[in-house]
Symmetry: C2
Subunit: 350 residues, 2 copies
DNA sequence: TTTCCTTTTGAAACCGGTTTTAATGCTTCA
DNA sequence: TGAAGCATTAAAACCGGTTTCAAAAGGAAA
């Protein structure tokens, strides 16, 4: 691999000069610059980023941590979309992305790896648990950090969707279509997104003078599976005509459970969920859901982090909250042309 | 951040000695070793990996490239599972993972970034297109490489599922349940996995003395969407009682199309797909599919690459082909207790 | 032509490690 | 007691860049 010394020799200058040309330093005469640049181009020379990093202290590498609290979480398109948003911004800014998937089995180990890794300029942590030691560690070590999802610590930058307001909108919508016995299935209570969506649900009930009944609150963990089982649980112990469920994935499970119970959607139970991942629209029936701009959250987080790094201002935290949007589809309002399953053959006798 | 010099000073030795202790060099007296180690532990000193890399030429970073030929591809759990497998092996071996998602819009740009990036010791490329210039570039630059998915070049290591044999099994199964008018929807022909599954399908037909009819071959691209549209296309132009479709995601689309056409599964059309991603089993109806061990492909690829790097033997390519398995579910054989949709309410009149 | 100032360039120091080479100290043995 | 041999350690060179500092070159003014 060619080094700066060889380029210097070929161009007949010192390596300081080559370095200046590489870094667009103005203290180089035009004649020298063109001469050196010609050699660089001819040799297809690229400076060694490791050597560069050693002096500059910068690597142009960002870290992305995705805790797989439940390993199946990553199957959820949420993280794919997030990664896409982040990756694109990195590419456009000539950064590269280092990925850590935190499997529960190796949580401690991965966490240590991340903390001891000095290759990254900054890090994005997606939906970490409340009080996650990794976050504490990153803060102590002053690693520039942007969290996806809100956090308590006001010193940390974060990008989040307005979970509370989104949830209020969900309740309003259910009320507006005449539902008044509302139940909810929450996400994980270890995540702010899980808590906030429950808080918003309660706000919504209060706002509409509806009672908050504990037996109409079931606790899920964002997985399809938990959506299914918690819906069954709710159905078994209480009556309700509207369900606010904290993620689309869980809604898929809920719909299964509701159909298996022989109930109609939305006539018997209307459902509003949260996320609006791509399959939400394709699903039968298509989900009414609170859309959060997942991919955009990723790109904004990356852009924020890069801005902080490039302006050398990692001290002042930036906290960004993105608005959500109610997407009305057929789990709350049956469209005129809707035909959930109506063309699907019902099984003849076994 | 503490450096080796400070440790040396504190321990009252030269930095060479500290370096020896760090690298478990035997030429250090026990007395000195304990003394130095004590200081290291006390200070919580970790050597700077960038500086280390500069001399060692190793970074302990692996690259992972996921071309998003269709941007929606990454929504497919295939890549999530693959990434999981790779990530776990990296963590266990103290490697870190650098991720590139190749968006079609920035393909050239990303490709250049990857090629000019000298931070990685080796790279794993997942389902690259046939003749992908990135691969050529990596080979020319002698970057240690493992491909997920087969390739023509015998010099490159690869990990692949046995697409051809798996497809033959699919046909055998369809024939075994009495189907003899078989159609197929292929994956992308730019991918070996797409081609091989078609090849296997044809082998299967020949083996069973069934004709190969061009109008029963439709060309998809692995997306749910293409599964839907290509199934409609097939239904419109030919009759068939068995469908071999090259991915689970496409099968989801195909099922939609078949139900919309008012046909029964598996009575009118039986379906075998490929992959066995997690939703395949949960789907209604659950998919009969050829299982490929996706996560394991990822971990084997990573382990192979790491082995090659650590044994300094990146010259001899290793080509690994993993066996597939037929998972029989309800898109080919209705179970006794099956109840596809039978409990789901059919829409009353609008 | 000389002087002074501004550009431009090269030499040297540095980033934080590893590795080679040379020096030191300690044993061992004649 | 002195020389040889070995284990241990320090000094120095190196990895491939950037940056500081000083020197050289060039140009303008006197």
């Amino acid at each position: 691999m060619t080094t700066i010394n060889e380029i210097a020799k070929l161009a007949g200058v010192s390596r300081s000069t080559v370095s200046r040309v590489l870094n667009h330093d103005k203290n180089v005469s035009d004649r020298t610059r063109t001469k050196v640049q010609a050699v660089i181009d001819e040799q297809g020379y690229q400076p060694n980023p490791v050597a560069r990093s050693l002096t500059s202290g910068r690597t142009r590498v960002l870290g992305l941590v995705i805790p797989m609290v439940v390993s199946s979480l990553f199957r959820d398109p949420f993280f794919s979309l997030l990664a896409q948003g982040i990756s694109t911004v990195c590419t456009l800014n000539n950064y590269t992305l280092m990925l850590w998937l935190m499997e529960p089995n190796y949580e401690k180990r991965t966490s240590d790896n991340i903390l001891n890794n000095r290759l990254i300029d900054g890090i994005i942590v997606a939906s970490s648990k409340i009080g996650d030691p990794l976050i504490e560690g990153l803060i102590t070590r002053k690693v520039p950090l942007v969290q996806i999802g809100r956090n308590d610590c006001p010193d940390v930058s974060s990008v989040d969707a307005d979970n509370i307001h989104g949830s209020v909108m969900a309740v309003r919508h259910l009320v507006s279509i005449g539902k008044n016995q509302l139940a909810t299935i929450t996400g994980q209570m270890e995540l702010y997104s899980g808590r906030d969506r429950l808080t918003g649900f309660k706000h919504g009930l209060q706002e509409n003078n509806l009672p908050i009944c504990d037996e109409r609150i079931a606790f899920g963990n964002f997985t399809e599976e938990s959506g299914y089982t918690q819906t069954k649980l709710l159905l078994s112990k209480t009556a309700f005509d509207g369900l606010y469920i904290a993620s689309d994935m869980m809604a898929f499970g809920a719909i299964r459970a509701i159909y298996e119970a022989g109930l109609r959607i939305p006539e018997d139970i209307a459902i509003v969920s949260f996320d609006d991942i791509p399959p939400a629209e394709r699903h039968q029936p298509p989900l009414t859901t609170i859309r959060q701009p997942i991919r955009r959250m990723g790109s904004i987080a990356a852009q924020t982090l890069i801005d902080q790094l490039e302006t050398d201002d990692t001290a002042t935290p930036r906290r960004i909250i993105l608005q959500t949007e109610l997407k009305i589809r057929e789990t709350t309002i049956r469209s005129e042309f809707s035909n959930h399953y109506s063309q699907m053959p019902v099984r003849s006798t076994p």
